[in-house]
Symmetry: C2
Subunit: 342 residues, 2 copies
Amino acid sequence: MTRVKLIDVARAAGVHPGTASRALNSDPDGRVSAETTRRVVETAKRLGYVPNSFARGLRTARSFVIGMIVPDVTNPLFPPMVRGAEQVLSQAGYTLVLTDTDNDEASERAQIERLRSRGTDGFLIATALWEDPLVEELGEVGVPAVLINRNTAVHRLPYVGCDERTGIEVSVDHLVGLGHREIVHLAGPQDTSTGRERASAFRHSLRVHELPVDPDQVLICSSYTEQAGVEATTRLLASGRPFTAIVAGNDLIALGALETLAAAGRHAPDDVSVVGFNDLPLVDKLTPSLTTVALPLREMGALAARILLAEIEDSDHFGPVAQSLLGVSLAVRGTSGPAPGR
Amino acid sequence: MTRVKLIDVARAAGVHPGTASRALNSDPDGRVSAETTRRVVETAKRLGYVPNSFARGLRTARSFVIGMIVPDVTNPLFPPMVRGAEQVLSQAGYTLVLTDTDNDEASERAQIERLRSRGTDGFLIATALWEDPLVEELGEVGVPAVLINRNTAVHRLPYVGCDERTGIEVSVDHLVGLGHREIVHLAGPQDTSTGRERASAFRHSLRVHELPVDPDQVLICSSYTEQAGVEATTRLLASGRPFTAIVAGNDLIALGALETLAAAGRHAPDDVSVVGFNDLPLVDKLTPSLTTVALPLREMGALAARILLAEIEDSDHFGPVAQSLLGVSLAVRGTSGPAPGR
DNA sequence: ACGCGTTGCACAACCGATTGCGCTTACCCT
DNA sequence: AGGGTAAGCGCAATCGGTTGTGCAACGCGT
């Protein structure tokens, strides 16, 4: 049951293996007659020929494999991006290899090393830190790669994200429109672009509305988790700072905040308003349902994949490094309401 | 920047490439002296040698790649299984390639074809149908593969799942203990093992409690989705059959049921009790929180990976095909309560 | 009819690591 | 001292496609 190989096809079609190869790959300047091509293709199909990708890869140094690196597949933020990317890639004949790093830099390095030794053609990276030596290395070695969701300080690689700033701005607009004036921000980790951007956009939005901006109005969470949201909210309550609304760094932080507030006797939306970010599955079914910023995750994945493919296909395409931002939308739901006393 | 290859290492160490290969692979009967081995390994590290897996794969016909096939990565049921499998595999030096099929058989076939042409060493399959020609083919060709989460009618391949029957039984026990006697089951698709097992276990449990079992007590959902849950519940309400509790085929169906019931003015847990299956993230935060059966998803993935590796490592291991069931637990929460009128 | 340019295909080197085979060297035993 | 043994390593074939080069045949123009 040894697999049928190129030489079998060639023999059956009465041509040289080299010719068969050109025929099957529709070699543009290999000059194979239409008749021969037809015959080879036909016998290949008849024999059920499947090319051996090791042999091909050895010669061409191309694998048609794309590696995607995410912090954690079980975080519902990532699967839709994976899905979008995979759809584009598999249609183009590529295979997506997914690995998660558990937010561990050593593990990330090992994964990338392994993938590179497998001849991976390019990378989709969702784990970038704001200052990330690993990613910069990749950029310098010239490995095709696209950042997704998180950017780095230096824009050496193409980036696909969403319009975080606007997301925060419409959140603040929404809250101000409801009469809130004491708004705080539970920011994500500041070693990620998302954490920094959202915090920066938050401060900017307050200024636009001519509201005062105090330093203690932005509390930094150590991670994008519910637990970190609980901690930050506990700090906020302990500080005694007055507030009627919270803009959370993401949905999980928002959940932590809601929980902590409820334990302190302050309930959304009557006593306090909370807005999240990401629109995770099921947050619309909570009671009250979570007001949050919805992201086009699948489109982000698809776009990143397309950019990566373009990067790979013409490697001499030293165009400007693209920074693409996709639009977001605010899903107004139950956790946001009029400011108390209005 | 051409990569350093075996011959470079060999030259630097003053040995023949063949010898270097044996030294680096600690060839058991290749008899390389300890001293030479040490020297080769040392220079390899110094030069930063990374073996080319194409060349290796071409020669050895091994890829150290495992393919995992799931219906849909964005279904939160699967990422934990992926995670568990990936952890085991990457520790053993394997890479996991994840693909989803979108529940489409043609796409599934294409994906498997592609992976096989890449020399994939084995498969983890979470998409099996109860009668699945595709899976049976794999079994016959002798490709190492392990089924996970869903089994097939014929047990030709190893299977790792969880103890569905007990999960349903404890659910029914719980409801009966609360005084419910009119219990219905919204079953999953009957072309999957999970759908069939759970329905069968449901009927069995009723008999154990000496409750009557009517055919109209089991309604079949067309898929494991919220939408299908809505439809089935609508049918149930229309049928006029009395009931005080529902055992749902999975959490999404349960959510659809809760929603439909609420729209009809029947609220959990006072008017009706609902139990789900899977314990998806956030279902514990709903109001009321969902009583459901929790599955050891990560462990399932890890175990399946271990079995697959064993299968691959000694291919002459024609032991009995393992059918492994992991234990489950009932998370009693807010949607289940005493039967009305008790 | 001759020369030149094309077209169509065969030839063989090559990608880089693995591995069966066989040669050399050192050592041991009688 | 000679023959035997085995350890240690080099040699070259091999995996299966891809691709630069060369050669034959054919068509066309003058």
